[in-house]
Symmetry: C3
Subunit: 149 residues, 3 copies
């Protein structure tokens, strides 16, 4: 049942709220630095805010994909908490990039690490499922029973 995935849905809603917030910050930056649409260049302070939003938008579908697959095929609670850390680091990235190009780097690396962890968990979960479905062998269950013995 899809109802079972309310924690993943909650993270998704928080992610949408964050994207909406970034989007509003771009509108404020347009007013502050006098950059009228459709222009997106002409002032480096505006360009950094604009780029921070665009970069977050590009990563948003990738984040949602691995969040849900990791949560469904590996472990929802784990995916939930890594998702929270990802959103926090994205916020710091946006704030940092708004100030200077250098300040975007540390939270960017951290958010990328969270994404790679989700991608790793998603891959393990899906490979385990494919293996048990097509080869009749479930490596995770096998590993667990091996540890318990």
């Amino acid at each position: 049942m899809l109802d079972d995935f309310a924690p993943l849905a909650a993270i998704t809603i928080l992610g949408v709220l964050q994207q909406a917030y970034f989007s509003l910050q771009v509108i404020h930056a347009r007013r502050r630095f006098h950059i009228s649409p459709p222009a997106v260049s002409g002032n480096e302070d505006f360009e950094r805010v604009y780029r921070a939003h665009l970069n977050s938008s590009e990563y948003f579908p990738m984040f949602l994909s691995v969040l849900w697959i990791a949560g469904v095929f590996f472990n929802q609670t784990l995916a939930f908490f890594i998702g929270v850390l990802y959103l926090c680091s994205r916020y710091k990235y946006f704030k940092g990039y708004s100030e200077s190009a250098l300040k975007r780097l540390r939270p960017l690396y951290f958010s990328a690490t969270m994404l790679w962890i989700l991608l790793g968990l998603a891959s393990i979960g899906v490979l385990n499922q494919l293996s048990s479905q097509y080869l009749g062998y479930n490596p995770i269950t096998a590993a667990r029973s091996h540890i318990e013995l």
Copy 2:
């Protein structure tokens, strides 16, 4: 079962078709205003069409996220009709922005309102589900039975 969400899937397909249409309009605008790839600037008429497409692309994953969560956790019929209104206002936004930066504003505000409504319904649905799952208390069912008494 995922089969039960055919109306949400129909809106999703319509949204993909709309994005494909916007994408083709950018290609036509490239030819009309003689802007060859990879350039995306040099003519303000082209830039408005380009920006209208990019803005719609940025909002598309946010729209799909809240559409599906509102439909699954709150009410599918309601999410379906708000989804239709969102896609209509996105079309008007694209057409308006293609003509002038000013004409994009009214449909943009309307589409944003539809997105906020979907986000509100999605939040209520997910909070209700989390509450009944972790606290054993279902506020929506409780409110309904209170009204019926």
Copy 3:
């Protein structure tokens, strides 16, 4: 059960990996052509790599949408293989565009064809489901039994 869709989840993970790869190529191109953030113009070789990534990012949510709907409502195996072809053509598109604007065209047309096929299958599957749900008539089952007679 969502577990049944491990093949679609596998394609989704491969798609995320590809987007991550494109994203890293943009970072390498920044270093190679000395374009520091937030700038995204100033060298046409860099601009082509940047545009190739942005275009793939714009199409990624559209691809995932029709992949999953075609897989859930029509046929998962078929959607899986068309998904593989789409990702291969996106890779060729990226490599081609990195070399010249002309070399992007053939793989772009091929990837667009794969997207239209997925969209067609998704539409047939959803219309069939809506028809059987709201009209009590299932055209695909009816067509099959007609062929078998």
